[in-house]
């Protein structure tokens, strides 16, 4: 993740990126405007109330005080305090809204796009990368668009405001402050860049330390058996000390920053007092330049470096945020390489809005017509001119080693990928002429590692048919042989199964995923190594469930365990993407070829293992 972030790190401010990101994420213009207005008011007050202090100093505390305007002064001051409160209240509310809305939009749109992206995207994108976009990048962008913008505007307006008022009152003093401005900004930006660089280094070592902890915990038992404790400790100590040195170095640069600015600021204050003092002394009657005016200048000069620093900070943050913006855009705007044509969408609806009334019923006959396929970013075909005929209602099994292409075939049938060349026909028609959802709504899918959601058992089964009644859920569970073990759970069907279903055994999870497939009542059912992660204890239950579930549907079984497919109507034996044998279990055994050998080896192994458990 760290390296990825470096990869995108943009050097220059790119307006185009920001235009795009703003278009994507700024939906709540009202709050944005309100936020900016509130900041403007607040800045005016920040500039304004020292003027009141100046007035007080000149009127009430001069050598000839005049108390006539005291009530008026108190009322005005209170009003200023009140409007300060109101504007702070308004800008925080509005900025929070903008921030929330931005995070919300980024996450929502990214999530929505993720739903329609095809498999090739997920093959090449680690989950961690996506998560980082949804969390740290989303937050950083939302932050800069809300609080960053507020800070920048406040700092900028305060700077400008102070300068303008200064020019009106005394242009010479104002000029001095203007001259200091670029010096401050340059120093601030240079410093921040240096500090950011240092901190990046520190973070890098820090992530090594975390990794080192992780490795140490994973290796704990191996460490013990090899007596590596002292070596490990030495290695870790070196790393921790290296971190300490780097961190202290970075801290040194950070510690330098504020005191330097403080000192420079007070040089400004010193100049202001001298020049201003001279004017005060030259104007003993206090006509043009009074001590109050000087106070105002000193106050402004002390306040002046605060907004300058903030502006510099936002500017450097902006650069980091730009990298975030680019990554977020790439996530939101990546097009899917499997999409329905406009004509198909017109007739059948989109992924999110189905036009079910136009959907033809599906029989389940599948034909591979000269299909060639290769995965994105690879050179070699997994399948070349592949032809296969599957009749509706048939059970077809695919057998072969890892990499033989058996999983690719079912992925192509499921339209998780599309053929690079050739066509796949469903009921005699190229499946690209109908919508993705049409196919998927008629597809059931059971995976090797059952993927469940962290909700109740009932909701997990219902995932196959969202509008299913409780009775339907129970019926499906019974069909899948899951009913009994579900009733044994603490809360029956309403048992919460934990994250990823980790409160259940793999076998139990698999039974639930069978029930989920059953409730969808699909015409085509894909079992992708669905039985290979099951222990022998659950095997029988699952095999029984499988028989019921497969009945009356076109079913495609990718099998590692050959014992599960002896009843298939057709077994397709694959080697390097080529069909080497094809036929029923019996036919293939009689042929005494590749399948025979595979089956023999497995049979022996399985039986041996089972026997030793049974004895």
């Amino acid at each position: 993740m760290m390296e990825d972030q470096e990869l995108y790190s943009a050097e220059h401010f790119d307006l185009e990126t920001w235009k795009r990101i703003l278009k994507i994420i700024v939906k709540d213009k009202k709050s944005l405007v309100l936020m900016l207005l509130a900041v403007i008011v607040m800045t005016c007050i920040d500039i304004g109330y020292p003027l009141l202090n100046k007035y007080a100093l000149e009127t009430f505390f001069s050598e000839t005080p005049n108390f006539d305007s005291v009530p008026f002064f108190i009322i005005l001051y209170s009003l200023i305090a009140l409007s300060m409160g109101v504007s702070v209240w308004a800008f925080i509310r509005a900025a929070a809204k903008v921030e929330e809305r931005t995070t919300f939009e980024i996450r929502m749109q990214a999530f929505k796009n993720l739903q329609q992206l095809s498999f090739s995207y997920f093959d090449n994108t680690p989950t961690g990368w996506v998560m980082a976009r949804m969390t740290s990048d989303a937050r950083r962008l939302a932050n800069i668009i809300s609080w960053g913008l507020v800070d920048f505007l406040w700092g900028f307006l305060l700077m400008i405001g102070i300068l303008i008022i200064s020019f009106f009152i005394n242009w010479r003093l104002a000029l001095i402050m203007t001259a200091l401005l670029p010096i401050f900004i340059v120093i601030a930006i240079l410093y921040r860049k240096k500090i950011l660089k240092e901190h990046r280094e520190v973070r890098k070592i820090n992530s090594h330390i975390t990794a080192s902890y992780n490795e140490s915990f994973m290796a704990a038992n191996t460490t013990k058996t090899l007596v590596l404790e002292d070596d490990n400790a030495q290695e870790f100590n070196d790393l921790a000390e290296k971190y300490k040195r780097r961190a202290i170095r970075a801290a040194f640069f950070s510690s330098l920053f504020w005191p330097t600015i403080l000192f420079l600021g007070y040089i400004g204050v010193a100049i202001v007092t001298y020049v201003g003092g001279k004017m005060v002394l030259n104007d003993p009657l206090g006509i043009l330049f009074t001590t109050g005016t000087l106070y105002l200048f000193v106050d402004y000069a002390i306040k002046f470096f605060d907004p300058v620093m903030i502006v510099a900070r936002v500017l450097t943050d902006l650069q980091q945020a730009q990298a975030s913006a680019e990554r977020v855009i790439s996530l939101i705007e990546t097009p899917s390489d499997i999409v329905d044509t406009p004509e198909v969408v017109e007739k059948y609806g989109t992924l999110f809005e189905h036009k079910k009334e136009n959907w033809e019923p599906i029989e389940g006959a599948i034909t591979f017509d000269n299909v060639s396929f290769r995965y994105k970013n690879t050179d070699n075909n997994v399948l070349t001119n592949f032809n296969l005929e599957i009749k509706a209602g048939q059970m077809v099994a695919f057998v072969g080693e890892t990499g033989s292409g058996k999983s690719t075939i079912v992925n192509l049938i499921s339209r998780f990928y599309e053929p690079t060349e050739g066509r796949i026909l469903i009921d005699g028609k190229d499946y690209r002429e109908r919508s993705i959802s049409w196919l998927h709504a008629n597809l059931g899918y059971v995976l090797q590692t059952p993927q469940l959601f962290s909700t109740t058992i009932k909701e997990n089964i219902r995932y196959g048919k969202l509008d299913a009644t409780d009775e339907e859920v129970i019926a499906a569970a019974k069909l899948a042989n899951a009913h009994n073990f579900i009733l044994e759970q603490e809360n029956g069907y309403d048992t919460y199964i934990g994250e990823g279903g980790n409160k259940l055994s793999t076998g139990q999870k698999q039974l639930i995923s069978f029930a989920r497939a059953v409730i969808a009542n699909p015409r085509i059912l894909v079992l992708d190594e669905a039985t290979s992660s099951i222990d022998t204890e659950n095997e029988k239950t699952i095999l029984e469930a499988m028989q019921t579930v497969l009945k009356g549907r076109t079913s495609l079984v990718v099998a590692h365990r050959l014992s599960t497919i002896v009843n298939a109507d057709k077994i397709v034996v694959l080697r390097n993407g080529v069909v080497v044998e094809e036929g029923t279990h019996r036919e293939l055994l009689n042929a005494k070829g590749y399948y025979f050998e595979l089956y023999r080896n497995q049979f022996m192994q399985e039986l041996e293992q089972k026997l030793i458990q049974d004895i």
Partner: protein, 610 residues
């Protein structure tokens, strides 16, 4: 409550350990706060010179006389102005020193705790590591340490220096005008109570918001993990709705918190300005009653002093609000430190080990179990023998390996290694002499070469290749693009289970050990490679070898086969002996022959294979 106490106990221990550093930091930041209160006095001095009001300025006399050297008011102002700048320069240098020192302490605490935790955890028992939640443990080693060190190096000092700045400001204001001083302090309880209330509230809300966000993240994670399921059921819309619902929940919680935040900060700014007004108004009243007693320079200085303590006072609320968080983090650290180090109860003997092993009436059960796994277990193994131990899963055969390497300790009976009681021998000495190869070995994210040479980094290259050959792995390694320099676990360099096992075997063979135990560590290998390794070992090694397995083919060639049933030895003998007598071994062996016959029957008979 108990938890809080434990947390404070840990913090107390830490404060005691770093007390000098902490005291220095507190002293420095108090001093820094104190020096700030002179800044408004410089300004006041300048103004009193300009207005010639003759009021008293609490600056050192020598300084004032130094400024007076300027002669004319303008030059005095110039001197004072640059005096202020130089004063700030000195303060800046002090601040830098303080910042560096504070960070040094912070890093020192962190590096100490990290090392201690690392060493402590690595020395916790085998049983602990088998059940621990690693993610949680990492959290303790990283963020919990950060919270604690922040408290020690920063928050404690900030908390106490608030009193310093308050005290110093009051002192300076008092020297200017006592009445105005009391009036200007009204903001203090107001700012403190409101911020304490607010930050306690925030903390509570924050926990809920984090929980809501965690749920949101789970939805994304599960969606990504189950992308096939989502697509296969055409449930994209449902997923979006689910995500939308949780997103809204998260947003609303955040907005609710921010709504409170907006009131808090608005009130804060409002009350600050009102405090200024109050101070000025009271000053006006004083001025009206006793003209000439309040000078504009007084007002300027007092307003600046008030501004200097409002923020720290508000920050105090935050720090106190955070103490709860710190005590939780401290508790979590103490909890780990409270778990017993396995080397605390260690034997002292370092006998020479030749390889004779004897179990005499050994009883063993897991700590949390009620029933004994080994009951009155007896077996004698002579040096140099190859012994196979066979039994069902859960029969306790793996436990023997853990007992011999002192990963688990037996409760009753005795285990003798060359006649010495095992519990009397130093644990590390035992493990250096008894090599245990686990079924699921861990390889470090280093090169294959470094992994094999891990117990002896300076070993000759030839030796590494030699042991790799013994483990039938040399050929595989040379087949990799980078050979021995292949980094384990790097993209594209994933090793199969069998390859990992073989590297683990090679790594254990590097040092000559009198006893080697293979705990199902040949399980991922095909029978051919399995046999090859065993024959090679037999030819080259004189070590006592224990092969724990559930594969009868792996056991067959052993000098002695030990069959375990119900926690005790049920049979001992060679293959030839055991294959003849009735018992588990014969049953297993007979099955092997039957399997082939049965397969042929299946092939010829019907399709029923199950």
């Amino acid at each position: 409550m108990e938890q809080k106490k434990t947390g404070y106990r840990f913090l107390g221990k830490m404060i005691k350990r770093y007390w000098l550093m902490i005291v220095i930091i507190i002293a420095m930041s108090s001093f820094d706060s104190f020096t700030y209160t002179y800044v408004p006095l410089f300004i006041k001095y300048i103004f009193s010179v300009l207005t010639n009001d003759g009021s008293f300025v609490n600056l050192p006399e020598w300084l004032k006389s130094l400024f007076a050297l300027g002669g004319t008011p303008l030059m005095i102002v110039l001197f004072a102005g640059f005096g202020l700048a130089i004063y700030q320069l000195l303060r800046a240098i002090f601040k830098i020193v303080m910042g560096v020192y504070r960070n040094y302490v912070s890093e020192q605490v962190s590096v100490d705790l990290r090392k201690e935790l690392y060493n402590h955890i690595q020395n916790l028992s085998y049983a602990y590591h088998n059940n621990v939640d690693r993610g949680d443990l990492i959290q303790r080693c990283t963020s919990d340490i950060d919270v604690v060190r922040n408290f020690l190096s920063r928050q404690m000092a900030e908390m106490l220096s608030v009193f310093a700045i308050l005290g110093a400001s009051v002192y300076q204001m008092y020297r200017i005008n006592p009445m105005l001083t009391w009036v200007s302090l009204i903001i203090v309880p107001v700012a403190f109570t409101s911020s304490l209330w607010y930050f306690l509230y925030v903390q509570k809300k924050f926990a809920q918001i984090e929980e809501s966000e965690a749920k949101l993240m789970t939805i994304i994670q599960e969606n990504l993990a189950a992308v096939r399921v989502v697509k296969a059921f055409a449930n994209e819309k449902h997923e979006i709705e689910k995500f939308l619902e949780q997103s809204i929940d998260y947003s609303e919680r955040n907005l609710a918190l921010n709504s409170t935040a907006s009131f808090f900060w608005a009130f804060g700014d409002f009350s600050t300005i009102m405090q200024y007004l109050l101070t000025i108004t009271v000053a006006i009243v004083i001025m009206k009653n006793n003209p000439g007693t309040v000078h504009s320079s007084d007002i300027i200085a007092i307003l600046m002093l008030v501004g200097s303590y409002i923020w720290p006072v508000r920050g105090l609320g935050r720090i106190i609000g955070d103490v709860g968080k710190t005590s939780v983090a401290a508790y979590r650290l103490q909890e780990v430190f409270d778990i017993k180090d396995e080397f605390v109860d260690d034997g002292k003997l370092l006998p020479e080990i030749k390889g004779n092993i004897e179990f005499k009436n050994v009883w063993f059960k897991f700590e949390d179990a009620e029933e004994y796994l080994l009951r009155d277990f007896n077996v004698k193994i002579n040096a140099g023998e190859t012994v196979a131990i066979i039994g069902k899963t859960g029969s306790g055969k793996s436990t023997l390996a853990k007992i011999l390497t002192r990963l688990h300790d037996y409760q009753k009976g005795s285990v003798l290694i060359d006649g010495v009681e095992l519990k009397e021998i130093n644990k590390k000495h035992v493990r250096r002499n008894i090599g245990l190869i686990l079924q699921d070995p861990f390889l470090f994210s280093k090169t294959i070469y470094e992994n094999i040479a891990i117990t002896n980094k300076n070993v000759e290259r030839g030796r590494v290749e030699q042991v790799a050959q013994l483990a039938s792995m040399d050929h595989d390694i040379k087949g990799f693009e980078k050979g021995y320099e292949t980094v384990v676990g790097e993209r594209g360099a994933t090793l199969s289970g069998g390859q990992k096992q073989r590297i683990a075997i090679a790594r254990m063979l590097l040092d000559e050990k009198p006893i080697l135990i293979f705990d199902d560590s040949l399980s991922a290998l095909d029978s051919e490679t399995d046999l090859m390794i065993r024959t090679a070992l037999k030819r080259h090694k004189t070590a006592t070898m224990l092969i724990i397995t559930h594969k009868i083919t792996s056991a067959k060639q052993a000098d002695k086969i030990v069959v375990i049933e119900n926690g005790a030895v049920s049979q001992i003998g060679t293959h030839e002996e055991l294959a003849k007598v009735d018992g588990l071994y014969k049953k297993l062996w007979d099955i092997q022959g039957e399997l082939e016959a049965e397969f042929l029957k299946v092939v010829q008979g019907g399709g029923d294979a199950s």
